[in-house]
């Protein structure tokens, strides 16, 4: 193992502090229950762990199925070098989401119940199944990297053999559960503020998840480039940036068409917290669109990075608005997360960064250059 450069020490101290805070939070959660660890109430039962860790964690993982579909199904080999990065961010996003869910639910030892106790009328039941299956799919999709690392040739060829059906299954599952996270909120028409509540929530959730997934891949590529000096071909990243811009255009078009069609635009003239939060979200998701539509900006590494950050924050803002702030007015409450909620959330994010780093150091994430494709392309 490589010895870490000295400049990373500060980050390691910070990491240790955050993890300590998270462990304290976990202790409070275990000893004093959800009431002790969170500011949730009977009127406001879902907070940061559901709104951020679950909704956002799954959404940021959408890069996995998007890039897998691009490379394997649409057979655009140009994008193969970022496939494993995308799959890794997805795998980490989903795994950390699962950990957060275990902390959030009241009876974590019963997490397996949806496997045997079915309620096909429940959106959450569908989400639970899709996520379980998709985590399996992600493991299979990412398995080649692990097999190559340890030289398991038999396993490698077995995994390669089933790639096509697995990837297709994964895309179907992702389409279903990314949109279903929006469907979850269709049940609260009288509680969710009019700027966010729309019958199109499933469609909007799916589109914005694809945007966030692409932004996450751009962000992860940039991080790995900085940390490990791995170069990812520029035309490839420009292609991802172009795809992101197009998806953002579609997303905003659907979104505003829906607002107009529902005659909800007048809500924007009201001076309320919701209006400003909606504005923030829209600004963060529109500015990158305008920037990235220009070819000159797509070729600019810094512009791409800034745009990916804006989309990530805009996406987080959107999910928090739908799941938390958009519900506050009707519930006549203000929810501010308690410190254990915040510390555990930060800990999970930090663990995500650390795990990504460890995987990037020890697994062949970047070893598939474009020119090595040819023999294998025929074999698939």
């Amino acid at each position: 193992m490589k010895v870490a450069p000295l400049r990373l020490t500060l980050w390691r101290v910070l990491f240790a502090l955050i993890i300590c805070g998270g462990l304290c939070g976990l202790y409070v959660r275990a000893m004093y229950g959800l009431g002790g660890a969170t500011n949730l109430t009977d009127r406001f039962p879902w907070g940061l762990w559901k709104g951020f860790n679950v909704l956002t964690g799954i959404g940021l993982g959408a890069g996995g199925f998007t890039v897998a579909a691009t490379v394997h199904i649409f057979n655009l080999k140009l994008y193969r070098p970022i496939l494993r990065i995308a799959l890794l961010t997805a795998f980490l996003g989903y795994s950390l989401m699962a950990v957060a869910l275990m902390i959030d639910i009241g009876q974590p030892q019963r997490i397996w119940h949806p496997i045997v106790m079915w309620n096909e009328h429940s959106v959450l039941f569908e989400v639970a199944w899709c996520v379980m299956l998709y985590l399996t799919v992600l493991s299979l999709e990412f398995a080649p990297a692990v097999c190559e690392r340890f030289g398991w040739r038999r396993a490698l060829s077995a995994v390669r053999f089933i790639t096509a059906p697995v990837v297709i299954f994964g895309v179907v599952l992702s389409t279903l559960h990314q949109s279903s996270l929006g469907t979850l909120f269709l049940i609260v028409p009288e509680k969710l503020y009019g700027l966010w509540y729309t019958p199109l929530l499933p469609v909007l959730f799916f589109l914005s998840a694809v945007c966030a997934g692409l932004a996450m891949v751009m962000f992860a590529c940039r991080q790995s480039r900085q940390a490990f000096g791995r170069q990812i071909p520029a035309p490839l990243m420009e292609g991802v940036a172009w795809a992101l811009a197009v998806m953002l255009v579609i997303y905003q078009a659907v979104r505003f068409a829906d607002l107009i069609q529902r005659r909800a635009l007048h809500l924007l003239s009201q001076n309320r917290m919701e209006t400003w939060l909606f504005g923030l979200e829209t600004a963060l998701l529109t500015a990158p669109l305008l920037v990235l539509l220009a070819e000159r900006n797509r070729a600019n590494r810094e512009a791409r990075y800034l745009c990916s950050l804006m989309v990530l924050f805009g996406f987080v803002a959107n999910r928090l608005n739908v799941s938390i702030t958009g519900l506050e007015a009707s519930q006549a409450t203000h929810y501010i997360p308690k410190w254990p909620e915040v510390m555990i959330t930060f800990s999970l994010i930090s663990i995500g960064f650390a795990a990504f780093r460890a995987a990037a150091l020890h697994l062949p994430l970047f070893v598939e250059p474009v020119h090595a494709e040819e023999p294998e392309a025929v074999a698939v």
Binding site: D42, A69, L78, H121, S122, V171, L176, V370, E373
Partner: protein, 251 residues
Amino acid sequence: MSVAILYDSTKCIGCRECEKACAARWKLPYNDSVAAEEQISAHKLTSIQTHGEHYSRRLCMNCIDPTCASVCPVGAFTKTALGPVVYDQDKCIGCRYCMLACPFQVPTYQWTSRLPIVRKCDMCYERVSQGKPTACAEACPTGATTFGEREQLIAEARRRISEKPQDYYQRIYGVEEAGGTSVLFLSAVPFGQLGIPTNLPKTPLPMLTWRVLSRTPDIASVAGVLLGGVYWITHRREKVAAEEGRKGERK
């Protein structure tokens, strides 16, 4: 036949005997400080509220098509044929989606417990299935809370409204709210003044998600076939190109 509760706010004197009987039925402590709590909670499953000169009562509405039963990922809630909506605490994983989704804010949680469960009024399912009235209806000294067959109670409510129109707001709450409930309210003033939600659709809320969810198999199969087709085309194209020795042009 299904049973129901009729709560007539104009007959309620705020004596809280229903609260006391309910606490006894659930073996929950009941004292002055509990009595003073206006909101229902995991240790107080029904509550009498004061809204100006009027009393109002909170309890599970035991909806005809309950939102909680529809959203629960493990099916912990069941609408019984008899009327009550019952909860199986051994199934519950504690996701609290029922609490988020319930239009009446009824399910409550044991926030301070290490392995908490949801609590809500189940319309005394055990008593009711033995032919007895609910504990609250039995305890009510003024007839503000009565128990009986739903259709008969609606007829009774209509009779009261028409006999004394000056005493009643001319509607029965619960006949069609959120698709109808097994708890019905009568009041002297519009229901909004009793703190009861009045912005609910007349269709059951579970329809909102089922409309989308029921399409899942279609979406999955169409998407699967489409993606399979795209896969076949893109890879077939590549293969043909390779066979024709034009491989260098591709990529």
